[in-house]
């Protein structure tokens, strides 16, 4: 119920945080703590040191850039993002993923950077990031930065492309999507607050004729990292979406999937429900892209 002892540091700059991360062996970065502290309280994790990022100024912001990109500071709270008018208007898939994440208290503490760096295979945000073509900005010592696409960022279960001792996530960037685009996030779970049994984020853009120009569909909780349903995406390209096409796309999209079984659901159930959720998400994203639905 209570964590094992650790050393505690609360640096005030990214540089100091990275220096400490390098120096202190066994140290972990502490952002919102809603995942990390939970693991530490159950003593499933016992880092020798925690480097608290909450005292660093300049990592909490939501900024519309001139080029249409949306820049989000890594320490921005789930709630700040969920309440943000620009997120609600431009990225409903992200907003829905946030709305259905945890509960209000978790959303008041948890951060986007913490979630992505933690890379829980059942977390809501990673599939949304993949569907939206997010870019993740990573900091190294001495002001160095590199950008990793969401597709490449999530490597395995609880494993990202970050060097855990030398890098930290500082920003998430969302590209502008065309006017005729729409997205959604859907989740199936027994209780609303639970991690999903299956989750899907879908983002679709259509051309002037109403045909699908681009589709990105990512599933969570079915694989160690977000699963791009490229099979589904290719079925949709160039066509108008109806119930039948969406169903076919969903069928194709989950063909290769072998979801895990755990105490919440079997692999069989996950696969069956994946088809359903992908179909429904495609239809909703389509309706939003074509302006039929808000």
């Amino acid at each position: 119920m209570r964590p094992a002892p650790f050393e505690y540091y609360a640096p005030e700059t990214v540089e100091d945080a990275l220096r400490l991360l390098e120096e202190k062996e066994g140290a972990k970065l502490l952002a919102g703590g809603q995942s990390l502290l939970a693991l530490m309280k159950l003593r499933l994790l016992a880092p020798s040191a925690l480097i608290d990022l909450n005292r660093i100024n300049g990592l909490r912001y939501i900024r519309e850039e001139g080029n249409g990109w949306l820049s989000i500071g890594a320490m921005t709270l789930y709630d700040e993002l969920e309440q943000s008018p620009v997120v609600r208007t431009r990225y409903p898939a992200l907003r829905e993923a946030l709305y259905r994440l945890g509960d209000q208290q978790v959303r008041n503490r948890g951060t986007i950077g913490g979630s992505l760096a933690h890379a829980d295979p059942s977390a809501n945000l990673p599939p949304a990031m993949v569907a939206l073509k997010a870019q993740i900005v990573v900091a190294r010592r001495n002001g160095e930065r590199r950008t990793i696409s969401a597709d490449d960022f999530f490597v395995d279960s609880f494993t990202t492309a970050l060097d855990p001792e030398r890098e930290m996530l500082v920003e998430v960037r969302l590209p502008p999507w065309p006017r005729m685009s729409g997205g959604t996030y859907m989740k199936l779970s027994k209780r609303e607050i639970d991690f999903s049994i299956v989750e899907v984020a879908a983002q679709i853009s259509v051309d002037d004729a109403g045909n699908v120009r681009e589709a990105r569909i990512a599933l969570g909780s079915v694989a160690p990292k977000p699963y791009r349903a490229t099979g589904a995406e290719s079925v949709l390209l160039g066509s108008k979406v109806d119930e039948g096409l969406a169903a076919r796309a969903a069928e194709k999209g989950v063909e290769g999937l072998e979801p895990p079984s755990d105490v919440q659901a079997t692999g069989w159930y996950r696969k069956e429900v994946s088809k359903v959720l992908v179909k429904r998400a495609i239809l909703k994203a389509w309706r939003r892209a074509t302006g039929v639905e808000q």
């Binding site: 540091y9 609360a10 809603q34 502290l37 939970a38 209000q104 208290q105 008041n108």
Partner: protein
């Protein structure tokens, strides 16, 4: 604050009063409140951050104080259930919970009240669905939530109507 020391000195303002304590970095905020500061309104009901019985308002946001380290709250303003009443007058939420019997054993109640307080602070006229969503992080085993939802609605109505006299 500390740089890897054994004990850290934490200063907070709780319900408008200043408090301080020497705690370990690993001391949870809920434990500092209850054991060090004697503020026993917030309760502990689980070990995975689900039950919400420990919910307090930290710098204006409802949080589970079992999922925050005490040291992280250094310099913060905290509101607990004990801080809702003013000069012996119950807060409209407390009145509404009492009138509508929105509690039975009372153990989850402090957390429910703080979540409701946060909700009404940002949404003074919530729908039933919005109320249920707002307390999804506060488990109750006694009431089936029926009267809790009723009470929050009643409090919202009272708090948003013009005062008489």
């Amino acid at each position: 604050m500390s740089e890897g020391q054994e004990l850290v000195h934490v200063r907070v303002r709780v319900n408008g009063q200043p408090y301080e304590a020497d705690v370990e970095p690993r001391t949870l905020l809920i434990d500092m409140l209850r054991d060090n500061l004697g503020i026993t309104g917030p309760h502990i009901g689980c070990d995975t951050g689900h039950c919400g019985a420990c919910t307090v308002i930290l710098n204006g946001r409802s949080v589970k104080s079992c999922m925050v380290l005490a040291v992280q709250a250094d310099g913060s303003e905290i509101l607990t259930v004990e801080g809702l009443e003013k000069d012996g007058q119950l807060h409209p939420l407390q009145e509404a919970f009492w009138e509508n019997h929105a509690l039975q054993c009372g153990y989850c109640t402090p957390g429910q009240l703080m979540s409701a307080y946060f909700l009404l602070g940002r949404n003074p006229n919530p729908s039933e669905d919005e109320i249920r969503k707002a307390i999804e992080g506060n488990l109750c085993r006694c009431t089936g939530y029926v009267n809790i939802v009723k009470a929050i609605k009643a409090a919202a109505l009272k708090m948003s109507s013009p005062r008489a006299g």
